[in-house]
């Protein structure tokens, strides 16, 4: 009896001990932080996949970079015409195709205007009205010309700005990596404002997403979802201040000025990274006026919030307000 009891207690001790250790031993997953595409990218996936994803993101970062001297878009904006990488050609074709299909509120060819505001952010001097009007005449995907081979030319003073599409496009490529390798049953890749939720979690539960409150005050709500891409657009902390006034970093290309949208945060859930990135910006710029049309879409789901604390949630989205 004595040794039976000893065995019983030892078994309990062993079970309790091992239970206490389980949380840090999830498969062969690992987490890495990569500084790419003007953000910090957190990758939780199989170790080998992380290496491949790191290499892909680094390549795409160079192709879509508008600001560094080593950036390909920066070089194209400077040279006006050049032989471009397959990545950049594919990216531009996809962005122009999206804007043609869903609307030109967000375009890759809006750099003439957006760069004025980026300069204002640095210099803390607002752009002149005449400069904005002039730049508005130099935006539009019709100013991008695909020549023979991979040569792309920019007409007039058109400039490219990848900002509203780049992270989503990069996440699409990350999904391709995960699909090809089949190493990761599930993965979470977060570029702060754009996220890829991949595969099925070990316990088959849905992914749990927290949406940050744009005023910086904690969480606005949570969404339980299957694998998908999601992107958030909003003011958050990326505003800039000139003469004591705060300006959002998202530029409304119909006016040439920072958006005056009455929406403060828009998150789009769908099965394409570049589409979720594009739509979150477009819906934010459009404001509440057109939100009902987006809430009815079968192609994507939306969780949007306005400046008065109202929520606009697509039917079927498992959203819980905090």
């Amino acid at each position: 009896m004595f040794f039976k009891n000893i065995s019983f207690c030892s078994a309990i001790a062993a079970i309790l001990f091992f239970c206490s250790c389980t949380s840090d031993h999830a498969a062969e997953h690992s987490t890495a932080e990569l500084f790419v595409m003007d953000t910090v990218c957190s990758v939780n996936a199989d170790k080998d996949d992380i290496k491949t994803i790191s290499s892909v993101l680094s390549r795409i970062d160079t192709a879509l970079d508008c600001f560094s001297k080593s950036g390909e878009i920066h070089a194209l904006n400077e040279k006006r015409s050049m032989n471009c990488s397959e990545d950049l050609c594919d990216f531009i074709k996809k962005t122009t195709s999206l804007s043609a299909e869903y609307g030109n509120e967000v375009i890759v060819s809006g750099g003439a205007v957006t760069m004025l505001w980026k300069e204002a952010q640095k210099s803390e001097i607002l752009p002149e009205k005449n400069d904005i009007l002039h730049s508005l005449g130099n935006i539009g995907d019709n100013f991008i010309s695909f020549e023979s081979g991979n040569v792309i030319s920019l007409k007039n003073e058109c400039m490219l700005d990848s900002g509203a599409f780049a992270k989503g496009y990069a996440l699409d490529l990350c999904r391709d990596v995960l699909d090809s390798s089949r190493n990761s049953d599930h993965a979470v890749i977060s570029m702060t404002s754009s996220v890829l939720l991949y595969g099925k979690k070990p316990d088959n539960s849905k992914f749990n997403v927290e949406i940050r409150n744009p005023d910086g005050n904690g969480i606005i709500g949570t969404v339980k979802t299957d694998a998908c891409f999601l992107s958030t657009s909003g003011g958050y902390e990326r505003f800039f201040t000139v003469d004591g006034e705060n300006y959002p970093h998202i530029i409304d290309l119909s006016t040439g000025y920072p958006t005056q949208s009455d929406l403060t945060s828009v998150t789009v859930f769908c099965d394409s990274g570049i589409l979720s990135d594009y739509l979150s910006t477009k819906i934010l710029i459009e404001g509440t006026e057109n939100i009902e049309n987006h809430l009815e879409s079968d192609l994507y789901k939306v969780a949007a919030f306005d400046e008065n604390g109202n929520s606009y949630i697509s039917k079927g989205l498992d959203f819980h307000k905090k």
Binding site: N217, E237, T267
Partner: protein, 122 residues
């Protein structure tokens, strides 16, 4: 009828249970509470308990960013970066929230036991 346990058996079982709970306590002691993990270029360089207020915290490679822990949250009080995004982020205290300084490749992440979120977006 024989007793289920005699005194000697009960003492041994009690000792085993005490050892068992001590082991549980030791293994889990590092997981309890909430922490701010400060990393430089993806490598953890400092871990701060959020239940202890501290001021003027700086880390290697980013001496010009000053952190403060107060009332269970961490925030940046000073930075020499131009865009000051880390400063504008304000105080973070919830699991999964973060502060990022891109120019200096510094991140602050909150980790703890109170959230089931897979990711925080925005």
């Amino acid at each position: 009828m024989k007793k289920f346990l005699n005194l000697k058996e009960a003492a041994v079982i009690a000792i085993i249970l005490i050892i068992c709970f001590l082991a549980l306590f030791i293994v889990n002691s590092g997981k309890n509470g909430k922490y701010a993990v400060i990393s430089s270029d993806g490598n953890e360089i400092l871990r701060l308990e959020l239940d202890k207020d501290r001021q003027n915290i700086t880390v290697a490679n980013a001496e010009n960013i000053v952190f403060e822990v107060k009332d269970g949250a961490i925030f940046v009080t000073e930075t020499d970066c131009h865009d000051k995004i880390c400063l504008k982020t304000g105080a973070v205290s919830k699991n999964g929230q973060s502060i990022v300084c891109l120019p200096k490749k510094i991140t602050v992440k909150i980790i703890g036991e109170d959230s089931e979120a897979d990711v925080t977006i925005g």
